[in-house]
Amino acid sequence: MGYALLVSTPGEPSDTPAADDYRLRRIESVTDAALAHLDVEDLLGELLDRVRELLEVETATVLLLDSSCQQLVATAARGIEAVVRQGIRIPMGKGFAGRVAAEKGPVIIEQVDHTNVLYPFFREHGICSLLGVPLLISGTVIGVLHVGTLAPRRFTDDDVSLLQIVADRVAFAAQSRRAEVDRAAAVVLQRSLLPARLPVVPGLEMAARYVPAENGGVSGDWYDVFTLPSGWLCVVIGDVVGRGLVAADVMGRLRSVLRGYALLGGDPAEVLGRLDQQVQHFDPEAMATVLLAMFEPSFGRLHLSSAGHPPPVLALPGQPAVLLDVPSDHPVGVPGGLRRRATTINVPPGALLCFYTDGLVESRNTSLNVGLDRLCGSVVAGPVDSVCAEIMARLVGDDPAGDDVAILVLRLQDSGEIGPLDLVVPALPWSLRDIRFAVRRWLSAVGAAPRTVADLLVAVGEASTNAVEHAYGPGGGTVSVHLELQMPDVLATVRDTGRWRPPRGENRGRGTTFMRNCSDDLRIDHGPTGTNVVIRRRLGEEAPR
């Protein structure tokens, strides 16, 4: 191409048609449409190669601003690739590149010495003159582009203008790369953090929706459902202030930390208090609204605490839905708040709860109150998936989402809807706890009397313990537990596929006595294919004996 020749033309006059043509060609070489097909990495390299040729310089370097630490990081280089390999970082305002960024304008150094550059790097590489221009996006510095020569050089205004054109191109490419990377990472993070499948909990129906805002990527909305070893079920919904990768990353941390703190015990106000302390200390920039709701193991009562999050909606069968009266305390990450409060409500069978983020009820066109009214009007104590669909249809509709929307809907099944409980667990001691939790929940959901619950826990527990202890050799096996209603009784069957050996050790065999006394009828069948223990116990009051 011709421009290389033109560049070397000596004594080029600056105001002739030839000079204009020369400038134009120089500009074309860096705004070449063919460059658009390159990916960002290659584009940066190609632009640096061209700029070296055009300006007849030996080095060309792009540094991008890492806004988290206000440092310029060498990202691409030609002629002095070592700046990238050595991970050179320049604080804003310091040294040559730092000055370009701080002044948001071109800086020229004709003779490099220790007073005008930060590191001996340029001098060690024999660089004599430097020209740097800022990378600007809507007036904000995102980095610096600079070129250097081994021989002394007096950079002209044309050189500066040309370098600035290249810088604009570089800025655009770097920005779109960063946005692309951030968005992809944020989407991956968000996906990996929101439970793809909600846990299966007998007696409880759950459904959720998450829709990111349409104007760009994700934000920090999240929901989470998990059980604790104590049998409590935790429901979390939260919204991290901010957008994109940073918000998604904070959300990920909050989610894990909250799970950990919930494991330590305490009511939801205490758990949110610990989360708050953690955020204020380790993530002082972060802020989030969070609602933590904890179901007692029977699901009959719910304890809630809100860190600035909108209250959930409660719908009882045959009644209009209402907003729960949960006092709202300060968001997580805000110092100096008062003591957090926890509220307890009774949740009868058939009740439905809807948790959501503010994107659902707030929009540019409608006020918060209108949104909340509309939400209450869309929620009924019905099947969770249709409730989710109805909420999304009535509140989001055809409008593009301006903010992320997350909803989580839970419904306690009525005793009449509860099917049989079927569990198959490894015949290991730590399965006993899981069996107990499932049995306790199921009995509570079908409305068993407290005494029945206590008795069946012991009877099923003893039968399962026998299977764990006596049915299998070292190879192990499974225990199946089946509970069903045969009104007015509960029929519990505990089955293994091994062969019971006689009880060993002192004080053993007491389990069978307990089983017998905790049931109205007990049958133990040892067969060649395993053992079946069938326990019958009245669902309502009163006990045998």
């Binding site: 706890r433 313990t465 004080n507 007491r510 006595t513 006394n517």
Partner: protein, 108 residues
């Protein structure tokens, strides 16, 4: 893993051991070890408080029998605090444990 807490407070010549949480086959041995460590040969009376125990079955009752026979050999009195009407109380009554230790309804 099944969770139980063993809290011990000693005063003068008596030791109070409060059990809370749940006891089954999975954690019975660990709970038994904790109780054994809590009792030296010094006390005259050991009082075992089961008020806050949410679940216990034969694995837990077995601990009580073992403890009772050891304390008997050491001439240390054992008393159990178990609320009347509780599931734990019923199992203890069913097991014939009353002959080995006094059952008290509530904390003094």
């Amino acid at each position: 893993m099944t969770d139980a807490r063993v809290e011990v407070s000693a005063e003068n010549r008596s030791v109070r051991i409060s059990l809370s949480g749940e006891i089954d086959l999975a954690n019975a041995a660990a709970v038994e070890d904790e109780i054994r460590e809590a009792v030296s040969n010094q006390p005259v009376i050991v009082s075992l408080d089961l008020t806050d125990l949410n679940y216990m079955d034969s694995a837990g009752v077995r601990i009580l029998f073992t403890l009772a026979s050891r304390l008997q050999a050491l001439r240390i009195t054992l008393e159990l605090i178990v609320p009347p009407g509780s599931s734990t109380r019923r199992l203890i009554e069913l097991s014939g444990f009353e002959s080995l230790a006094a059952l008290k309804p509530a904390r003094p």
